[in-house]
């Protein structure tokens, strides 16, 4: 089940990579919505820092969105 999930995610990545040169994207004047702070890739860095710290200390996984190093002795 998890292997299948991994393959699906890999496939999505590959498809996106292959198609990124053609029809995807916007013109500079079409960035009205994308320019909102809420659409930033990391729009809530404080919350993210708090969550990363909690989950790092309570679970065996870390990283993904950003670096995995916890910088604390909580795990």
């Amino acid at each position: 089940m998890k292997n299948n999930l991994f393959k699906i995610v890999s496939l999505i990545v590959l498809m996106a990579l292959l198609s990124s040169c053609s029809s995807l994207g916007v013109k500079p004047w079409e960035r009205d919505l994308l320019a909102k702070p809420e659409m930033a890739v990391n729009s809530s860095p404080l919350d993210q820092a708090v969550d990363d710290h909690i989950y790092f200390s309570k679970e065996a996984s870390s990283g993904g969105r950003s670096f995995a190093g916890g910088g604390c002795g909580c795990n």
């Binding site: 916007v26 309570k58 995995a68």
Partner: protein
């Protein structure tokens, strides 16, 4: 010259004055020296967090950030974190039908656990301070770099790391590739010294006080005062704008940690054929760990809301595999406020060397830990955030989250230990659920 001096003073007095001065200068056709045009003021935020587990750990945390722009593209930011933890933490031993006594990590005190209760180390408390500095700037119109450093200090753990990232935009900035590297060094200095792997906990049930001398039996379980861990990590990122409303991000991360990765405060119960504890041994983990993570995130702007969905798959050299699903739904309202529900689901498989306890009749393995965080685990988070803007500049946010952990180790108990159905364990809940509440208040100046 007078105009230049006037502009310099305006910058120091107020940001808006600076903007007016800039406009005036433009109208007058004056040329501003670059150094004077670079100062644009500070942005700051403060966040207070309360974290409370039912009958276990409580934590309070403060995070302060400040950032300052230089000329058009550079940003310096600083983050300060201070937190305090107290309460009780599972020590790794299993519940029994009788009261159990343990020695505290310092060796100077003892604590007990009630019959039928998961043993918790009640002496657990810690203070932490951390500082993070970052500098980012553009190299060209389509490339950027960021460098940073972090330091974190606790009485028994210190960490130092530096990191750097390069990113490059393609196709009218619709596509961004990034490469990040981080290296770090950590010092582990456990209370009471470093326990010898699989040494037997010395227990005499005596409180010696802070100034008391450590008994020889406790000293015999120790080997040195500190050890180190080194970390190295690489993070590859690819961000793609799909259309006016949607973007996706893919990250691949690989990290390697080497050194003392054992938890010096965790032990394992050694059970006889009847499931009754005969001994407690300090755990032992491998001294290296590599992790690989695959992360995909998408944001979609609906008419009045923004959906943020992410999935992470992680696998490591300890044979832990995990999946994380995370959804934030940001609802924009008309009066400068928003609501944001949050749901997260996480599931992991157990590390190779995880075992709920050790059998007395079986030879002790090379590595073993009963830390439930390395076992089969599902966790759930539900939360809600509300934010609003004050004076069209300052923003306040309040967030409430509920977090629940469910250990699913019955199959492991059946497969990894021989005495799983012995009378001494019947009716005991060896891995009870853990739940926590998080309350956070943030203010952006």
């Amino acid at each position: 010259m007078q105009l230049k001096n006037h502009l310099k003073m305006s910058v120091k007095e107020h940001d808006s004055s600076y903007k007016i001065a800039l406009a005036s200068a433009a109208l007058l056709g004056a040329t501003m020296p670059r150094a004077q045009a670079e100062v644009l003021g500070w942005d700051a935020s403060a966040s207070f967090l309360g974290y409370s587990e039912q009958n276990r750990v409580s934590a309070g945390e403060f995070i302060g950030t400040a950032s300052k722009k230089y000329h058009q593209t550079a940003l310096f930011d600083i983050k300060v974190v201070a937190d305090v933890l107290t309460g009780a933490s599972a020590n790794g031993a299993v519940a029994q039908k009788f009261v159990q006594t343990f020695t505290s990590p310092s060796g100077k005190d003892f604590y007990t656990s009630n019959a039928n209760q998961t043993p918790l180390d009640k002496t657990f408390q810690d203070l932490r301070g951390a500082l993070s500095l970052n500098w980012s700037d553009a190299i060209t119109d389509v490339s950027n770099y960021r460098i940073g450093g972090n330091v974190s200090l606790e009485h028994d753990y210190s960490a130092l790391s530096i990191n750097g990232e390069y990113s490059h935009d393609f196709f009218q900035k619709n596509t961004t590739f990034s490469l990040g590297v981080s290296v770090g060094t950590n010092q582990v200095k456990p209370e009471g010294g470093l326990p010898i792997a699989f040494s037997s906990m010395f227990i005499d049930g005596i409180n010696r006080g802070e100034d008391g001398n450590l008994p020889q039996g406790f000293r015999d379980t120790r080997n040195g005062n500190s050890d180190n861990v080194t970390d190295a990590e690489i993070l590859l990122g690819y961000t793609q704008i799909i259309n006016r409303r949607m973007l996706v991000q893919f990250n691949y991360g690989h990290s390697e940690s080497n050194g003392y990765l054992t938890d010096p405060y965790k032990i394992l119960s050694v059970l006889d054929n009847n499931g009754v504890a005969q001994d407690y041994l300090y755990e032992n983990r491998p001294d290296s760990r590599t992790k690989d993570s695959f992360y995909v995130m998408t944001k979609y702007h609906l008419e009045q809301s923004i959906v943020d969905f992410s999935y992470r798959y992680m696998t490591d050299s300890w044979n832990i595999k995990s999946s994380t699903f995370d959804v934030h739904w940001h609802f924009l309202t008309g009066n400068n406020s928003f609501w944001e529900p949050h749901i997260r689901y996480y599931t992991q498989s157990a590390a190779d060397f995880f075992t709920p306890y050790l059998d007395q009749s079986v030879h002790t393995p090379e590595f073993a830990s009963a830390d439930y965080r390395l076992g089969n685990l599902d966790t759930f988070t539900v939360g809600l955030k509300y934010g609003f803007t004050l004076n069209q500049q300052h923003r306040a946010e309040i967030r409430l989250e509920y977090y629940k952990q469910q250990s699913k180790n019955q199959s492991l108990i059946d497969s990894r230990v021989a005495t799983s159905h012995s009378s001494g364990l019947s009716g005991l809940n060896l891995f009870p659920d853990v739940s926590a509440v998080v309350l956070q208040f943030s203010y952006y100046f």
